[in-house]
């Protein structure tokens, strides 16, 4: 065999070079794989440590009681002894009010934010003249660039004083509805929900825009050719097709709303008593952690309770995100940053 002939096939010489030559490849491959695996291990590790740290509080108050009891009253904790003799129920760290607060503020955020986000997405992709589309989209996305502490600042010094009258007006006019009415103090579930709506708007809108722009034009044309008006075309061709993707987007927005801390803690009033109306002051799981961390740092069981709240937040957002992923399938071949594209429900053999 003539050793001077070396045909290069597929990048590897027919004549074998020393195994050392392949070392950098191996190193790179295993190094990067280890990195990727490391990320997974890290998440799992954090999760386990967080559970560990929360266990003291769960032990103190009872696992279920943490969720269903409404007695987050830290002053009870001073008398260590009295607390212990109060029976198995535990004298404090029932986080029901906090949990409910998280739910209420997130619900308000969704109710206000999602329709507006869908409206902007529809407007930008379907109705707006083409030359303005890019600029409008950028402007809506800019809402995401504002840090939460700045929203909090604005909320405290602009929104709360300026909307006090408005909140009172709403409370009076709609007092026939449950949970509406009473005197408005300023900070409230409502304001927190409003700010959260503003914060989730860019995410939901961006995903909705992506989804709406993937509606095949043939469906839109079919509607127009039947003599539909623009709105009717949106109603019968665009919205049904985008429903799943938009739902996924809304859920991602929900996850964001659940976990948001700083803006909420500044505008919700941080009152551990469950507020009676949406215009009352309240508390959320995230706000309690930020607010009471300083005090809690030196008391292990108190600190542990805050960790428990964090754990609940973590699990909640995890669940919401997992469910959202079912609706919004990521396109790995997408050319878009953080692209999320709907997986259309197409039965087998469809010509769609």
């Amino acid at each position: 065999m003539d050793a001077s002939v070396s045909t290069v096939q597929g990048g590897r010489s027919v004549l074998e070079r020393s195994p050392l030559h392949r070392l950098p490849d191996r190193v790179l491959q295993w190094g990067l794989s280890a990195l990727a695996a490391g990320v997974l291990v890290l998440i799992a590790y954090f999760f386990i440590r967080l559970i560990g740290q929360s266990s003291t509080a769960f032990g103190h108050v009872g696992f279920l009681n943490f969720f269903v009891r409404n007695n987050w009253d830290v002053s009870q904790l001073q008398d260590g002894a009295a607390c212990a003799t109060a029976g198995n129920a535990g004298c404090t760290f029932g986080a029901w009010a906090l949990l409910l607060g998280t739910v209420i503020t997130s619900a308000i955020a969704l109710v206000i934010g999602v329709p507006v986000a869908i409206a902007t997405a529809l407007f930008v992709t379907e109705l707006c003249p083409r030359r303005f589309r890019g600029a409008l989209a950028i402007l809506v996305d800019l809402l995401a660039a504002v840090p939460s502490v700045v929203y909090g600042l604005w909320g405290v010094f602009v929104l709360i004083p300026d909307l006090k009258g408005f909140q009172q007006f709403l409370a009076d006019t709609f007092s026939f509805l449950p949970f509406v009415g009473g005197t408005v103090a300023g900070p409230s579930y409502f304001i927190a929900g409003l700010i959260l709506a503003i914060m989730i708007l860019p995410i939901v809108s961006a995903i909705a825009r992506e989804v709406i722009s993937t509606v095949p034009s043939e469906h839109k044309e079919a509607a127009l050719a039947l003599g539909a008006t623009r709105w009717e075309m949106i109603r019968i061709a665009v919205l049904p097709y985008s429903r799943a993707g938009i739902t996924g987007g809304a859920m991602l927005g929900l996850g964001r709303a659940i976990g948001e801390t700083i803006a909420v803690v500044l505008v919700i009033g941080n009152s551990p008593k469950l507020g009676e109306q949406i215009f009352s002051q309240g508390y959320t799981l995230s706000a309690v952690i930020a607010n009471e961390f300083g005090e809690a740092a030196s008391t292990p069981v108190y600190r542990s309770a805050l960790f428990a709240a964090g754990l609940v937040l973590f699990v909640l957002t995890l669940l919401v995100n997992i469910i959202a992923r079912r609706y919004v399938v990521r396109s790995t071949a997408g050319k878009r940053m953080a692209a999320d594209v709907v997986a259309p429900e197409a039965p087998a053999g469809a010509a769609a």
Partner: protein, 288 residues
């Protein structure tokens, strides 16, 4: 004269009304943006002065409360460290996913969890680092600037991974094949072809992650002890813009609140600048 069956007035009205509604919704969405920017300038500019940027916030109890020098520098230091940690690791994981893992089961699991990580609240990352690094007094200190950087890097990591993967996938397979066909080993293909081609996209992704990290408060709350003066010591307490603002909001003094507005304006402008540079970088990209 032929008459076309006219569409009913009701349909016409509904069409106009709904289009108006959608337009109004869009305007509504932009109102907060306009208001926030307006108030930032309206209330924040008055705080700006030479002293504002050159003094620390440990001013007099009455009178000038001090500027935000330590906050700005602190943010720069902490975020820089977080970037140094998260960007290489993030690009590395992105490289793994596109060059080696591809569609394997393991790679898909990694992708799934990275995606899930983007949804984790920032406060939880703060708690993580608090438990693992602060309570454990790693490095001989409780709270420290570098621990805050670690918390921020956890936050930034999934953003970098996702954007890197998207950008790396845009490198045409034909380029890789051409390099391989010339006899280049895989690692050379990565370093000489894939990375340089996608560089500006990677930079864009990194800048966007930095912009996100620079604005976060919650992770720092549990990991970095607040210091008013310029310490420059990453292994000790440090100041940062978000924390400074957060504290100042709760002060009863009007001058301090004004300082908060000025600091907020500074922070937002920094973030906008980063976004602009990121956009410019992506426009110069040789891909997609």
């Amino acid at each position: 004269m032929t008459q076309l069956a006219p569409i009913s007035a009701r349909r016409r009205r509904t069409d106009v009304a709904m289009r108006g509604l959608l337009g109004a919704g869009t305007v509504l969405a932009l109102v907060p943006l306009v208001l926030v920017i307006y108030y930032l300038f309206h209330k924040g500019l008055s705080a700006w002065s030479k002293d504002f940027f050159t003094t620390d916030p440990n001013g007099n109890f009455l009178g000038y409360p001090g500027g935000i020098r330590s906050a700005i520098l602190g943010t720069i230091e902490i975020v820089a460290l977080a970037t140094l940690i998260s960007v290489p690791i993030g690009i590395g994981v992105g490289l793994y996913l596109t060059e080696y893992g591809k569609e394997s089961k393991f790679a898909n699991v990694v992708r799934y969890f990275v995606d899930v990580m983007t949804g984790v609240p920032s406060i939880v990352f703060g708690l993580f680092v608090y438990i693992v690094l602060v309570l454990a007094r790693t490095g001989g200190s409780t709270f420290a600037g570098w621990k805050g950087a670690v918390a921020l890097s956890l936050l930034m990591l999934p953003i970098v991974v996702r954007s890197s993967e998207v950008v790396l996938l845009l490198v045409p397979g034909s380029l890789r094949e051409a390099a391989l066909a010339l006899g280049a080993p895989r690692w050379r293909v990565v370093t000489r072809v894939v990375l340089p081609t996608s560089l500006s996209g990677l930079v864009t992704g990194a800048l966007l992650a930095v912009a996100r990290g620079a604005g976060e408060t919650a992770p720092l709350l549990f990991t970095v002890a607040f210091a008013q003066t310029l310490t420059g010591n990453l292994n000790g307490s440090m100041n940062s813009l978000p924390i400074q603002i957060y504290n100042d909001i709760q002060s009863p003094r009007a001058e301090v609140v004004t300082r908060a507005w000025g600091a907020a304006l500074t922070l937002v402008l920094m973030i906008l600048l980063l976004n602009l540079i990121a956009r410019a970088a992506s426009r110069r990209s040789r891909l997609g």
